[in-house]
């Protein structure tokens, strides 16, 4: 990539920094250039977030319809998978899967709910009361 071809598109990065890219200068030697962003990857990131929002919305509806417990919703909201949530809570994957069932969730002790609440960065009340 030539220095003058380095894209300078708007992106979420502008809140933080410009990024370094390795580019060729006019003498054909490598140098670094700063870029504010590139539309091609911004579109990819936007799509990924759109997908996350759709999944979260689907999870909210599933909780509302009584098909899933609030754990499912907050998992999607915090873009966690089983491995990540398992890391934060210390529960095994199959235990978490069980806790996604509304009736099992109902019977969880406060101590267990606290572990989820901490992982999701919400209060136990918020977690318990979430109805979708």
């Amino acid at each position: 990539m030539k220095e003058e071809d380095l894209p300078q598109d708007k992106s979420a990065l502008e809140k933080m920094t410009r990024e370094i890219c390795y580019v060729k200068n006019s003498d054909g030697k490598y140098t670094t250039g700063l870029s504010t962003g590139w539309d091609v990857k911004k579109d990819a990131l936007d799509n990924a977030w759109e997908d996350i929002q759709e999944r979260t919305e689907a999870a909210r509806i599933a909780v509302k319809n009584g098909e899933k417990s609030p754990v499912f919703y907050f998992m999607e909201l915090r873009i966690m998978d089983f491995q990540v949530l398992s890391g934060y809570t210390g529960f095994w994957k199959f235990t978490i899967k069980r806790h996604l069932k509304p009736n099992v969730f109902q019977s969880l002790s406060d101590e267990k709910l606290k572990r989820y609440a901490k992982a999701f960065d919400v209060s136990v009340e918020e977690l318990k009361k979430f109805k979708g």
Partner: protein
Amino acid sequence: MEKEFKHIQTAHCENGVATSLLKYHGLHFMTEPLVFGIGSGLFYLHIPFLSINNGPAITYRSMPGWIFSRACKALGVKVTRKKFSNEEQAAAFLDQKVKEGVPVGCQVGVFNLPYFPPEYRFHFNAHNLIVYGKEKNNYLVSDPVMETVTTLSEEDMLRVRFAKGPLAPKGHIYFPEHVQPVSDEVLKKGIIKGIKRTTYHMLHIPGNIGGVAGIKYTAKQIRKWPQKLGARKAGLYLGQIVRMQEEIGTGGGGFRFLFAAFLEQASVILKNNELLEISEEFTKAGDLWRASAVNMGRIYKGRLKEQKDYDACAAMLDQISDIEKNAFLRLEKMKF
């Protein structure tokens, strides 16, 4: 004794921590491409049947932590590493290092990193930054991907150092010790070793999912995606490829430009003109990776959606694989 720490911005966080810390300890010739090359940072791997963030598991670089370890080993620099099971001990150790005036590298998760924009906060746990001081309750932080230095509160620091999930940092802290001047001889040897190891990884990793063969494997998968996954999911998968390849931290073109810059510097240090020619080949590969990203972008933007459009993306990856294969074969035959 008082050496002043200087913030250096780099494309990739691990290279950056390595470059800054080695420069701080007197190895002024260090550059990001040299660290990346000596540490054999370039790689390609497509892990089948595994999905990360609901997309394909593809990487353009070697395992987190290895670049720094390999580069230091080649230069005869000893790295001390520590992980913790206890958060208080982790905080106390960092404070002690700060008090001693030693800048240290810390592995962190980005999900709770306050200065990252929300759009970039995924559960990615192999980010690296340098802590070089403390003012009141705030750590002075040099994050290599940032243009300037920043700070983190004690609470935030502990949170990101103890992020959980895959590659959990567990308070991981590391710093070079007893850094001796590096002779030209050692540097040259390190560069040659880096080139040979990268070549080996890209050409001879067993199986068909790693190295230049891995790029073809991805191409093969892409041809199947529209049928197998449907248009929407296939588009998201392509988007994930582009993000892994081009997002902040790669230097552009899936680290290929960074590797080309390394070969350019290596050609000067080793006085070898052929390396410069091969560097051009990797620039070409990097440019093609960028062009392939543009192509994929047309699909996930919804402008293209036919099977032949996916085939075109795949054909480009096949072409890239061939170019890189030929370039590495030249490197393999080279006498140093």
